[in-house]
């Protein structure tokens, strides 16, 4: 019995789609322009850095939701891919002396993809709770390797600091930290997030995306239609791992110092929390969830020392009330209901 998670039937056949698409495309590009200009307009480094932090985790949450929202598998091991992305960047810079950002990001995605393939190959046969616990156990093995500093690569729990990479030969790393982030790196993350959204929007509406939904909705039927479901679950894990790895790699430069905590299972829990808060049954839910989670945490932190309680309560309430809709899905439904009431009133 696959996890019963609804999809998002927002794509209607025929011309209605055209209209819908335009409206959303319009809103999307407006938001993109606003975000792109934000640092220049406000010169507010704190907000810029906060947005950069949120966007990195938005990419990770989007990548994670390929496996949960689209293929119906709850993984508690995605920190392995996020951490793999981070450590690849740090170790490539330190040991291999690679300083070019594009090369580093591609390398990080490849390494995360490989880790995704390994963990995926071992776990795609299992279901629901066993899948969650197996991915958790496998990711924790990676965490233990990092804390033990096996092979002298990760330098244990104190972690490794990293310098700022250059970009296609341009020595941008010399620019002071402030301008590096607001003038250059923030926009790199924004471009990566936009590319991820567009790429996934197409991929998850392609035959491949439909196949993942088939597996989520009814495994037996999918297999009886000639789909090798284990192989496609593995593809889903690999694609997801690469995108989460990209999020991790981008974030490594933002935080500047990598410690094994980013591989720990509580980090996986955070990524799951973000996707769920936003709404795993929606396409953009995870992006909203990442923003919601980080802002909520920062707010809770500034208000009370019992911020764990606040976060726990929010997770509990969201799971019970909104389930796969999340705040984004719930908001959309509210808007639709308002439209209907306005239309027929």
């Amino acid at each position: 019995m696959s996890t019963r998670l609804p999809t998002f039937g927002d794509v209607k056949a025929g011309e209605i789609k055209g209209v819908l698409l335009d409206k959303r495309l319009l809103a999307g590009s407006a938001l993109f322009v606003f975000l792109a200009l934000y640092p220049a307009l406000t010169m507010n480094a704190y907000h810029t850095r906060l947005l950069a932090w949120i966007m990195c985790f938005a990419i990770a949450a989007l990548g994670f939701n390929i496996v949960l929202g689209y293929t119906g598998l709850l993984s508690f091991g995605h920190a392995a891919f996020f951490g793999a992305g981070m450590y690849t960047v740090v170790i490539a810079m330190e040991r291999a002396g690679i300083t070019d950002l594009v090369v580093l990001l591609v390398l990080a995605m490849i390494v995360a993809g490989v880790v995704g393939a390994i963990i995926g190959a071992l776990s795609v046969k299992t279901h629901e709770i066993y899948f969650a616990l197996l991915t958790l156990a496998l990711a924790q093995l990676l965490f233990v390797l990092a804390t033990r500093d096996v092979g002298g690569l990760t330098r244990g729990t104190d972690g490794i600091g990293l310098t700022r990479p250059d970009f296609l030969g341009l020595p941008v790393s010399e620019v002071p930290a402030q301008f590096y982030l607001m003038g250059f790196y923030y926009h790199v993350i924004l471009v990566c997030l936009t590319a991820t959204i567009l790429l996934l929007w197409v991929v998850l509406r392609s035959p491949f995306g439909l196949t993942l939904k088939m597996i989520r909705e009814n495994e037996t039927r999918a297999e009886m239609s000639g789909v090798p479901i284990l192989r496609y679950r593995l593809y889903s894990m690999i694609l997801s791992a690469m995108i989460v790895g990209l999020g991790g790699a981008l974030y490594a430069v933002v935080v500047g110092h990598i410690t094994p905590e980013y591989l720990d299972w509580t980090m996986s829990g955070e990524i799951v929390f973000m996707a769920l808060l936003g709404g795993i049954g929606t396409f953009l839910g995870p992006v909203v969830g990442a923003g919601g989670f980080i802002l909520l945490q920062e707010l809770a932190l500034s208000v009370t020392t019992y911020w764990h309680f606040t976060m726990g309560l929010v997770l509990f309430v969201v799971v019970l009330t909104l389930r796969e809709k999340g705040i984004w899905g719930g908001a959309k439904e509210l808007l639709e209901r308002l439209d209907e009431r306005r239309d027929n009133s």
Partner: protein
């Protein structure tokens, strides 16, 4: 390998197995019988630890007799937590019984965060320990067992764990509640249809399971420190135990607790660096090759 250190490590393994048994048996029963996967189960182990330290330290002036202290740990604290969990079952956990295991896992992940801060709110953030005067493990001292001197208190803890396991087994085999629970673990809906007051059985099973976890926490404390990290450590370990033992199987928990207890004890003694990795490695291997665990496909007590 000298025979004594073999004996000592086995004894340490038994002690750790006993603690693991307390922390995990409730988790597997609640999942096996009530279909509720409660990630926050180990948080009650942590709660039991803090309540025990607080109770013992405040009993200093009333009495310091070992028997009374042990009675408090074994009876009073589990009873208090039993009542508390009955209330919690009705309020916090009630809505979780209908939702899918995936969502149960996530909701109870939230409960861990909440319980963590409740403990911090009441007892503060830094570790607390039982004062020397009211610490039964110091009062009982050591005893000779087959040529090695071991802590008497820890032997008592092992005996209590064995008694608890046997007690649970008898409960399932002999009592009405036990038989109904076994039926529920096979076919939950069918039992409901038979008109049995499922809610009452549910609260009993849930509260007994949580009380046992609290008992574990209480017995654990005299010999160690109650710190915020206890809950998180035992969440992972208890999942490893129930997965290896087989979800929903009492026999599974006993065997798996022994396996991990020995692995940990001998691991620390001879290959310390690997100790943590072994537990996760074992868990991964079991899920991959025998997902239902050692005794998962059998009933609660077959």
């Amino acid at each position: 390998m000298p025979i004594e250190s073999l004996m000592v490590n086995t004894f340490n393994g038994l002690y750790f197995a006993a603690l693991l048994f307390f922390a995990s048996v409730g988790l597997t029963l609640v999942f096996g019988i009530l279909n509720l996967l409660n990630m926050a189960h180990a948080a009650f182990y942590g709660l039991g630890a803090y309540v025990a330290v607080w109770t013992l330290n405040n009993m200093g002036d009333i009495t310091t007799s070992t028997v009374v202290l042990l009675a408090v740990l074994v009876l009073v604290i589990p009873l208090v937590v039993f009542v508390l969990s009955a209330v919690l079952d009705k309020t916090v956990f009630a809505p979780l019984y209908e939702i899918e295991p995936v969502y149960q896992l996530l909701a109870t992940f939230g409960v861990i965060l909440m319980l963590d801060d409740v403990i911090k709110f009441i007892w503060g953030a830094s570790p607390i320990t039982v004062d020397g005067a009211v610490d039964p493990s110091r009062q009982l001292g050591t005893l000779d067992l087959l040529g090695i001197s071991v802590s008497a208190y820890r032997s008592v803890v092992i005996l209590i764990a064995i008694a608890c396991a046997v007690g649970l087994y008898l409960m399932f085999v002999k009592t009405k509640l036990g038989k109904i629970s076994q039926a529920m673990s096979e076919d939950y809906e069918m039992v409901q249809m038979l008109g049995i007051n499922v809610n009452r059985v549910r609260i009993m099973i849930f509260s007994i399971s949580v009380a046992i976890a609290a008992l574990g926490g209480a017995l654990f404390v005299p010999f160690a420190t109650a710190t915020p990290a206890v809950t998180l450590e035992y969440v992972l370990l208890s999942f490893a135990v129930i997965v290896i033992g087989g979800l929903g199987s009492l026999k599974g928990v006993v065997v798996a607790a022994l396996v991990i207890g020995m692995v940990r004890s001998f691991g620390i003694a001879y290959y310390p660096a690997l100790e943590l990795a072994i537990v996760f490695g074992l868990m991964a291997v079991v899920i991959i090759f025998k997902p239902e665990g050692l005794f998962g496909d059998e009933g609660v007590v077959e």
